[in-house]
């Protein structure tokens, strides 16, 4: 695992800015992220396993805005790449690796977000 994954991968600056630091509202959005994004990413992994790469782009499109909201910069670049390449049927050989990168990073983000929520609830 890359060393960078030990750091906090998400950045809540945008959400804190628009909700003016209201923790409950930010936490609600994090919960929505944890409800929705694992499902999208799971379906993307299934597409790769079935070698059904042209079906990746609508899933990437759905996940894109959620990923951007949480300031997941590196993941946002990858997910955009997946969306565009899958949509235009290009660089298809690179897509499985990109999807796996997104999935690995997501698994770490989920843990980090769950820890944040439990700390926040305990506070």
């Amino acid at each position: 695992m890359s060393a960078q994954f030990n750091d906090q991968l998400f950045d809540l600056s945008y959400l804190n800015q628009i909700f003016q630091g209201n923790k409950d509202m930010v936490n609600d959005i994090i919960k929505l992220f944890l409800d929705q994004v694992p499902e999208y990413i799971g379906e993307m992994v299934d597409c790769v396993e079935r070698n059904d790469l042209l079906r990746l782009h609508p899933l990437a499109h759905k996940a894109k805005s959620s990923i951007a909201m949480l300031g997941l910069k590196n993941m946002e670049i990858n997910i955009l790449q997946i969306e565009q390449d899958s949509k235009h049927n290009r660089n298809m050989e690179a897509l499985p690796n990109l999807v796996n990168q997104v999935k690995d990073e997501c698994d770490i983000v989920y843990d980090q977000l769950r820890t944040l929520l439990s700390t926040s609830n305990a506070a």
Partner: protein, 504 residues
């Protein structure tokens, strides 16, 4: 003359967009994907009786399968970005404009009142007065402040807790469990109490002048009873009341389906149809065209002693509509006679916050009914709110059920600073005084699916585009901030204990 071409019909730019969802469904139909029901003779008889075509039924069934298209919110409306906050001078100016400008116009008040009062008394239906919940406890503790307490005391001088509930709900008493909401006594006065219906007559008289025209939509089968009651109560007043009534058409009912999208059938094999929500009332509104139509729900009316602020803001909204109506209709008349100047077009473009578009495009866009809607600061009330929606140049009222749970959309919902109190005034006549066909301006894709329970079985129901939501999606919309004091809905009977429903 480029602009003149657009006056040939009330053809709509947005009409094509609005019906695109159905175009998609039609393509699905051609591709053999649409849900088609094996119609039995009973089905056909049932459809005929309700005035629903087979095509309409199949279209509804397809919507359950394909899902409704969620609203594409781009941002919440805020002050100076979709919602006007008026200065003191503007408030005075608009109310004056209404007083002078409404004299020669056809002014109507349209009050959706089709609902029963059952939900208002929901917490009393199965209450245990020996172990009451908070709302029931409050009802019992403050029973004698209720506007109908005296009527119950006339039947039972010292009612017990059980009798208070029973005589309120049951037919042996006031029968409010099944009464139309408008027939519930709302406010106490010296020597008598008045129903919500009567309070709307009083409110209308405060700003509609000597002739008060009100149209109520009422529950089916209740027109005569309510009409007789109100004609009696409005006789011998200083004003002349012109009251009319209509019911929600059964042809606007929608079919219910099981959770796997099969038509729900009762024990006799009959399809189940349900009222399609307040959006169905666009048909009723369509039959009552006027220069100025004030729309306000039956349960949102205050005690007459506290009506001053409500009346002022009715006049302000009415005055604002008179101003925009004149600007828009003058522009359309000028386009039609080829006398429009670029100053006039630019001025109107700025007033309405329209982006770059040609005069011809403006003329096409502005051939539409106009509405001015009050918006109240968000204080956590549930319901729809004002939002900008992708592709629509005017702000929209969007219900939470219309929004997807995608995070970017939910973030926008959470940012809403205002909500819709359903307090609007509209003009449904064009610049020549001809009534628009309001059905042409509906965004049919703005429906939504809700879950209901029928005899313990979960079913899916289809709600038509809401009256102030999708049914007015392609209208010209202007939103103005109004004080929260003008919004006083009675959702539960206990709301009648709030100060705005009590004598001053």
């Amino acid at each position: 003359m480029e602009g003149r071409f657009f006056f040939a019909h009330h053809s709509r730019t947005f009409k094509s967009r609005a019906s695109s969802h159905f175009a998609t469904l039609y393509r699905s139909y051609l591709a053999g994907k649409i849900h088609t029901l094996e119609h039995t003779t009973t089905d056909r008889d049932q459809l005929k009786e309700k005035g629903i075509s087979e095509e309409n039924l199949n279209r509804q069934l397809s919507i359950f399968i394909d899902g409704c298209r969620p609203a594409a919110l781009t941002r919440a409306c805020t002050i100076d970005d979709g919602i006007f906050r008026l200065s003191e001078a503007e408030i005075t100016d608009y109310s004056t404009k209404f007083a002078s400008g409404s004299q020669n116009l056809k002014v109507l008040k349209f009050v959706p009142a089709s609902g029963a009062a059952s939900r208002m008394f929901k917490h009393l239906h199965q209450c245990d007065t020996s172990n009451p919940d908070i709302l029931t406890q409050e009802f019992l503790d403050r029973f004698y402040e209720m506007p109908f307490a005296k009527d119950i005391q006339a039947m039972q001088a010292n009612p017990s807790d059980d009798q208070m509930v029973e005589l309120t709900l049951e037919q042996s008493g006031l029968g409010y469990a099944t009464a139309p909401k408008g027939m519930v006594l709302f406010h106490r006065y010296d020597g008598q109490a008045k129903t919500a219906f009567e309070e709307h007559l009083s409110e209308g008289a405060q700003y509609m002048g000597n002739k008060v025209c009100i149209h109520f939509t009422v529950p089916e089968g209740k027109e005569a009873e309510i009409g007789d009651f109100l004609r009696l109560r409005s006789a011998n007043k200083d004003q002349v009341y012109d009251l009319s009534f209509s019911t929600q058409r059964s042809s606007t009912d929608t079919v219910a389906v099981t959770m796997d999208n099969q038509p729900y059938r009762d024990d006799f094999g009959k399809l189940l149809f349900r009222p399609g929500g307040h959006g169905a009332l666009i048909h009723n509104l369509n039959k009552n065209p006027a220069d100025l139509i004030f729309i306000k729900n039956i349960d949102n009316v205050v005690h007459e002693s506290r009506i001053e602020e409500t009346v002022l803001w009715k006049q302000v909204l009415g005055g604002a509509l008179i101003k925009y109506r004149k600007l828009i209709h003058d522009f359309l008349r000028a386009v039609e006679s080829d006398k429009v100047s670029s100053e006039q077009a630019n001025s109107l473009r700025n007033e309405l916050g329209l982006g770059e578009m040609s005069q011809a495009e403006m003329a096409q866009l502005l051939q539409a009914p106009i509405r001015v809607c009050g918006m109240v600061k968000n204080e956590g009330e549930p319901g729809g709110g004002p939002f900008w929606v992708k592709g629509n140049p005017f702000p929209q009222v969007v219900e939470s059920a219309q929004v997807s749970n995608a995070i970017d959309q939910q973030v926008i919902v959470a940012q809403a600073s205002h909500f819709n109190p359903t307090d609007l005034v509209c003009c449904t006549l064009d610049h020549r005084g001809i009534a628009y066909d309001l059905l042409e301006f509906i965004d049919h894709s703005a429906c939504f699916i809700s879950e209901k329970s029928i005899a313990g079985t979960a079913v899916k129901a289809l709600e038509l585009p809401g009256l102030w939501n999708g049914a007015m999606a392609n209208w010209i919309s202007i939103f103005i901030e109004v004080p929260v004091n003008t919004f006083n809905p009675v959702k539960t009977v206990n709301d009648l204990l709030r100060p705005m429903h009590q004598p001053k």
